[in-house]
């Protein structure tokens, strides 16, 4: 026990005297988490508060065109524009402006759009009354949505589908009014029938409810998503100082001495693991503090911790175990510090990419979704999302914790085997 505590003291002293290592462990992850959350929140706010820059060219100059313009002017989704340099924009100017990135989306309502709808309705009514409509042609018009090529596909799809829904509702309204007018023409003037009016109130409406077990409203937001994701990413980056610590001992000759003293080399590794796991946990709780205290000071929502503190502790421990175990494995595989640093950082980047830290796993192709299941960062994130967003408890996250614990044991077993093999050689 004295040997272990002496080895832990040594690790602690080495760590606190390594200023660069400390900044990698604490300052950089905290800066990363603040920046990433602010950026994502800003993007969220741009969409929700300032609106997406949108330019409309209304060539229709009729009921539908005017209604689309009026509707978009009042929309929170977009920042409406129909002029460039104080003049009504033309179709060509719209293409040029979107191409130059001045607007993310442009909408061209072609001439005669309203008329086409009206004629279509008239034709439909005539056909219903048994009149010969074979001579009248069905007209079709196309509302163009011009998109800046730099806009991400998922973002564009989300915005254009909302715009499509909005324009469809207006088209339906114009059709209804045209239909009403047609009917009125067919009914004699002395018959008084109360004309039906188009109602904005829909018979079927939608309500978005999060499938969360958390009492009260926990709304997924930049803080709820980013704190767990980037905390896991930062915790796994403990691999770098851990690998550096192992490699330094190899290169500075301490390992040579360890093999000649009556204390196993694995006692040194255990001491490292204990110290780095504690550091990982401190790192984790500092990150939570950022979400609970610092980010709200910057005007961001407060991080909601969910229902299970024991679950959070368990997941943090699982994550710390997996990260430290992986660090020991990389340290055993590498033969130089540089090799260890490259291997460590690249493998964490790959694990985080396939684990859905940057792009959610559910938007990945099916093959990548299957591959993502091998990433310990994915297991950790599933656990934390369960706790922070779905309101799950300690029992629910046990499978994720066990996966991380097994990964730790696996890494350690391989590292011991490699180390023994190297020594005998």
């Amino acid at each position: 026990m004295r040997k272990l505590s002496a080895a832990m003291r040594k690790e602690f002293l080495l760590l606190i005297r390594d200023k660069m290592g400390l900044s990698i462990l604490f300052i950089m992850p905290m800066v990363l988490i603040v920046i990433m959350t602010l950026i994502q929140d800003a993007a969220f706010r741009t969409v929700n508060e300032e609106g997406i820059p949108l330019l409309v060219v209304n060539e229709d100059q009729d009921s539908l065109g005017f209604r689309i313009e009026a509707g978009l002017k009042n929309s929170d989704l977009v920042a409406f524009h129909n002029e460039i340099n104080g003049k009504r924009a033309t179709r060509d100017e719209l293409f040029k402006a979107v191409k130059e990135g001045k607007f993310l989306i442009g909408i061209v309502i072609p001439k005669g759009t309203t008329k086409a709808i009206q004629e279509d309705v008239k034709r439909l009514v005539d056909e219903s009354l048994g009149e010969d409509v074979s001579q009248t042609k069905q007209r079709s018009t196309e509302i163009e949505m011009v998109i800046d090529p730099i806009a991400s596909k998922s973002f564009v799809t989300s915005v254009t589908s909302q715009l499509r829904e909005f324009i469809s509702a207006l088209k339906t309204r114009v059709m209804f009014e045209t239909f009403n007018a047609q009917i009125a023409e067919l009914i004699p003037d002395d018959v008084t029938i109360k004309k039906s009016e188009y109602s904005n109130k829909q018979a079927v409406t939608y309500k978005e409810v999060y499938a969360s077990e958390i009492s009260g409203e926990i709304k997924p937001n930049a803080v709820q998503h980013n704190i767990p994701a980037w905390t896991i990413f930062a915790m796994f980056f403990i691999v770098l100082p851990l690998v550096s610590s192992i490699m330094k001992e190899k290169e500075e000759g301490s390992v040579f001495r360890f093999h000649t003293i009556p204390a196993s080399y694995f006692l040194q590794i255990n001491a490292k693991l204990i110290v780095f796991i504690v550091i990982c946990l401190i790192q984790f709780f500092l990150m939570l503090l950022i979400g609970l205290v610092f980010l709200p000071m910057l005007g961001l929502p407060v991080l909601q911790l969910g229902n299970s503190y024991s679950g959070i502790l368990l997941m943090a421990l699982g994550c710390a175990l997996a990260a430290s175990g992986f660090g020991v494995l990389v340290g055993s595989l590498a033969t130089t510090q540089q090799q260890g640093a490259v291997l460590g950082s690249l493998s964490i980047l790959i694990f985080s990419a396939i684990g859905g830290i940057w792009v959610p796993a559910y938007v990945m192709p099916s093959i990548m979704r299957r591959i993502s299941e091998i990433s310990p960062l994915k297991w950790a994130m599933d656990g934390f999302y369960g706790l922070f967003l779905r309101g799950e408890g300690c029992v629910d996250i046990l499978p994720h914790f066990f996966k991380l614990a097994v990964f730790f044991a696996f890494c350690l077993a391989i590292a011991i085997r490699i180390q023994s093999k190297k020594r005998i050689g």
Binding site: K3, A6, R9, R17, G253, F256, T260, I424
Partner: protein
């Protein structure tokens, strides 16, 4: 009974054409100061590494105090001390912190360890520098702490791999003086070096090793006497290891 016994030891590395150590047999008695001398790549460090249990021999057997190294390595580690050729210290820790750590690893009780550290730091005139980080030390100071780290548990056998390489004359003199004291107190010392003059004065017995084989062995003065044209151990060494060497 011999303190250390190597029987027909061979060590071959996968990538090497020739074995690093080739059918080497050797016995070293208690309280000897034994010097293993040889040119670079002769097999000195491999031999010391096998004696310390760092490397397994490909064939042959090693026993220390009658204990087979293969079976009793952990027991043997209790009474051997090793001073590696490279400075095996933590540069960001102070000299004292390094010694406290290594002493604890040898299981020396805390109070006794503190006393021994203080005593050795005094002997090596390192008291003032004890609380400074090792990275600020000169080569000689690092060598002294490196040596103390290997003897804090008062081993019966001390292995030293080139303990004075790259140090100034004063530091070398200090180190050799204290090693002689330790030997006088009963410690068996096995030592490798390139400094023939140092070995000539320090060792009670030397073996000259070349291409993994012992080419001669004996008391340094006897070896010089046996080579009538040689005036010192260096000339004996050169005559035996350099085919065209002519004594001037």
């Amino acid at each position: 009974m011999a303190m250390i016994e190597l029987k027909d030891i061979t060590k071959s590395y996968d990538e090497a054409e020739k074995p690093a150590v080739n059918h080497l047999s050797l016995s070293i008695n208690k309280n000897e100061t034994f010097g293993l001398l040889g040119p670079n790549g002769a097999g000195k460090t491999t031999t010391i590494s096998m004696l310390c249990g760092l490397v397994q021999p490909t064939s042959g057997s090693i026993s220390i105090k009658g204990l087979d190294l293969k079976l009793h390595m952990n027991d043997v580690k209790q009474f051997i001390g090793v001073v590696p050729q490279d400075i095996a210290l933590y540069p960001t820790l102070t000299g004292k912190e390094n010694l406290e750590f290594y002493g604890a690893m040898y299981g020396v009780p805390k109070v006794l360890l503190n006393n021994r550290i203080a005593s050795w730091l005094k002997k090596f005139e390192m008291e003032k520098a004890a609380n400074k980080s090792v990275s600020s030390y000169s080569g000689g100071m690092k060598r002294r702490i490196n040596l103390i780290a290997g003897i804090l548990h008062q081993p019966e056998i001390l292995f030293l791999d080139e303990p004075t390489v790259g140090v100034d004359v004063q530091s070398r003199s200090d180190i050799m003086h204290h090693l002689k004291e330790l030997n006088a107190e009963g410690m068996t010392i096995i030592y490798t070096s390139h400094h023939m003059e140092e070995a000539e004065h320090f060792c009670s017995d030397v073996a000259i090793i070349n291409n993994g084989e012992i080419i001669t062995r004996g008391n340094p003065l006897e070896l010089i006497e046996n080579q009538s044209d040689c005036r010192n151990l260096e000339e004996v060494f050169l005559k035996l290891t350099k085919p065209n060497f002519q004594v001037k």
